[in-house]
């Protein structure tokens, strides 16, 4: 079976973001970028499924500006086989990402599509569910455990109440939680090897997808700042403050 993994290039999770002074968005020029963290878990899981002999090929897809190819290259260095890059403006809406992925899935016929449950830039948490709906496939969201069978896949979902276990008929879309696994680092020889792995270039015209935005971003602003607090000298003072000043205990 084939596995398709969708990855997104985002501002590195350790970077403190800066909002553009005109409020039009978040500054991404000269900022460290990385693969969206739960997408790394998706790549790792695909590699483990292949290493267990249950998949033959892992294809990495990324959609966005030219530099998203670097993110594909990272996944190829981890061990994936080949890449597909779809050139679009940065940060198109999840419904449009899902429509592009739908076309690629129809072309490549994977049995499983893996991706992170959420991108840490727009925090939308939509793409996997939307792709699943467009394809009419089963979906497993916020997944912390996967067991791949012949015609189905058993999963554990992280839900507000605890854990939920489902058996999904293949083909299926899986969105990964950070708890799914520990992503590997690419070794130097594998980074070298990845440079020779093929990345196919596509455009939205090649795929015949309309990605006209439906949502306008009017403004991006800093959240209200908290007033600076105080340091207390000991526990007794803390408890007195909480009781008499803040009146919360």
């Amino acid at each position: 079976m084939k596995i398709l993994v969708a990855v997104k290039r985002v501002i590195d999770y350790n970077v403190q973001i800066r909002i553009k002074t005109d409020g039009s968005g978040v500054e991404t020029e000269n900022v460290k970028m990385s693969m969206n963290p739960p997408d790394e878990n998706a790549v790792e899981e695909a590699l483990r499924i292949k290493e267990a002999g249950k998949a033959e090929e892992i294809i990495i897809v990324s959609i966005g500006e030219e530099k998203s190819k670097e993110t594909i290259r990272t996944a190829l260095a981890m061990g994936a086989d080949r890449g597909i890059f779809v050139s679009t403006p940065a940060n198109i809406e999840p419904i449009n990402v899902a429509k592009i992925l739908q076309k690629i899935v129809e072309k490549e016929n994977p049995s499983i599509v893996l991706m992170g449950k959420q991108a840490i830039d727009d925090d939308c948490n939509q793409t996997g569910q939307m792709l699943s709906a467009l394809l009419g496939w089963s979906q497993g969201t916020f997944i912390s455990k996967i067991e791949v069978g012949d015609s189905s896949i058993s999963i554990t979902r992280e839900i507000d109440e605890g854990l939920e276990k489902l058996k999904l008929n293949l083909p299926s879309i899986i969105t990964c939680d950070l708890r799914l696994n520990e992503p590997r680092y690419a070794s130097l020889p594998n980074i070298m090897k990845a440079k020779k792995k093929p990345i196919e270039d596509l455009t939205k015209e090649d795929l015949g997808v309309d990605i006209t935005p439906r949502i306008k971003q009017l403004q991006v602003e800093e959240p209200p700042k908290r007033e600076k607090g105080i340091m207390v000298k000991d526990v007794a003072e803390l408890v007195q403050k909480l009781k008499n000043e803040a009146k919360v205990i």
Partner: protein
């Protein structure tokens, strides 16, 4: 035109996140309909009809909906969608799983995790783990929205007198088989709604030490939370996690013990009314959001805190 709110329910009761979503809906339009889907959830539908601001309850009751599967439920919402300008659900794992599926089936975008409603087509939502707020405007004639429950007061569960309309719908169940659910049971208040939350981080160093947090939580009648680092280290299970990928909490009092304050943790708690941070690292970013900071070793502080709270309880008695 009206607004549809998708109720999150357990077949026995309406989840409180639904009440927050109803209140959010009322900021757009008064004609709010609530859809309740489940198995033997007659009582839930009756209670739903009593919620203030709800004008109509659509009740779908069938053994096939004992466990909510997004693949089965999404077509129900789609079939109801014609009459509505907005369809809302809480941004809980229930709503997050379901609503994008509904949106895609209707060829619509979704606006996730709304924290403020400006008007019928303009909304504010956090991005970058709450480090920025984006004001977004939908250009579509139907809006699919998930609501961050902690950003809206709950609607009163009484005062309404809605009609209940029973509808049947046969879902395609062939894609998914429900195997089971492991729900974490606790005597303590629920993390999402507790008045006081006390959370532990990697500073606790072990699952055994985490019991010191639990002991203090019991004295304060507080819910227990944890940072991702503490969860990843195996001190507690993941449903304790507060943060960008865990739960977002807004208690009156949040006490962070041995938590450094990574961006992703702050995203889950920095809207709390009063924040206390106890950490031995003076430079820990958690102190930047704390109203009261105590720079000290938690292993010395926790027994003292426990003793001080005992004194306090004696005074209160």
């Amino acid at each position: 035109m009206s607004i549809l709110v998708v109720a999150e329910n357990s077949n026995k009761e309406i989840k409180s996140s639904t009440l927050n979503s109803i209140n959010a809906a009322s900021k757009i339009n008064d004609d709010i309909h609530l859809v309740v889907i489940g198995n033997q959830c007659e009582e839930v539908a009756k209670k739903a009809a009593l919620i203030e601001k709800v004008k109509k309850v659509i009740h779908i009751d069938d053994p096939q909906y004992e466990n909510i599967i997004a693949e089965s439920i999404a077509p129900i919402i789609v079939s109801l969608s014609d009459k509505y300008t907005h369809i809302l659900a809480p941004a809980s794992t229930f709503g997050k799983n379901l609503m994008p599926r509904v949106a895609a089936l209707l060829d619509l975008s979704q606006i996730s995790d709304v924290i403020r409603i400006e008007n019928e087509d303009t909304f504010v939502r956090p991005i970058y783990a709450g480090n920025a707020f984006a004001t977004v405007q939908s250009t579509e004639n139907k809006k699919i929205i998930t609501i961050r429950p902690t950003s809206f007061d709950p609607a009163y569960s009484e005062g309404g007198n809605a009609n209940i309309e029973k509808v049947s719908f046969n879902a395609d169940q062939s894609l998914v088989e429900f195997i089971g659910r492991e729900e974490s049971k606790s005597e303590r208040p629920e993390l999402g709604t507790a008045r006081i939350v006390i959370s532990g981080g990697r500073g606790l160093q072990s699952a055994e030490n985490f019991s010191m947090i639990i002991e203090i939580a019991d004295k304060l009648n507080a819910a227990v939370g944890a940072s991702r680092a503490a969860v990843d280290a195996g001190y507690v299970s993941n449903d304790y996690q507060v943060g960008q990928t865990g739960k977002v909490v807004v208690p009156d009092l949040y006490i962070a013990i041995g938590i450094s304050g990574a961006i992703q943790h702050l995203a889950g708690m920095k809207e709390s009314k009063v924040i206390v941070a106890i950490n031995k690292d003076e430079e820990a970013p958690i102190f930047n959001v704390a109203d009261y900071g105590l720079h000290a070793d938690l292993f010395e502080v926790l027994p003292q805190l426990s003793a001080e709270l005992d004194k306090l309880n004696t005074i209160q008695k």
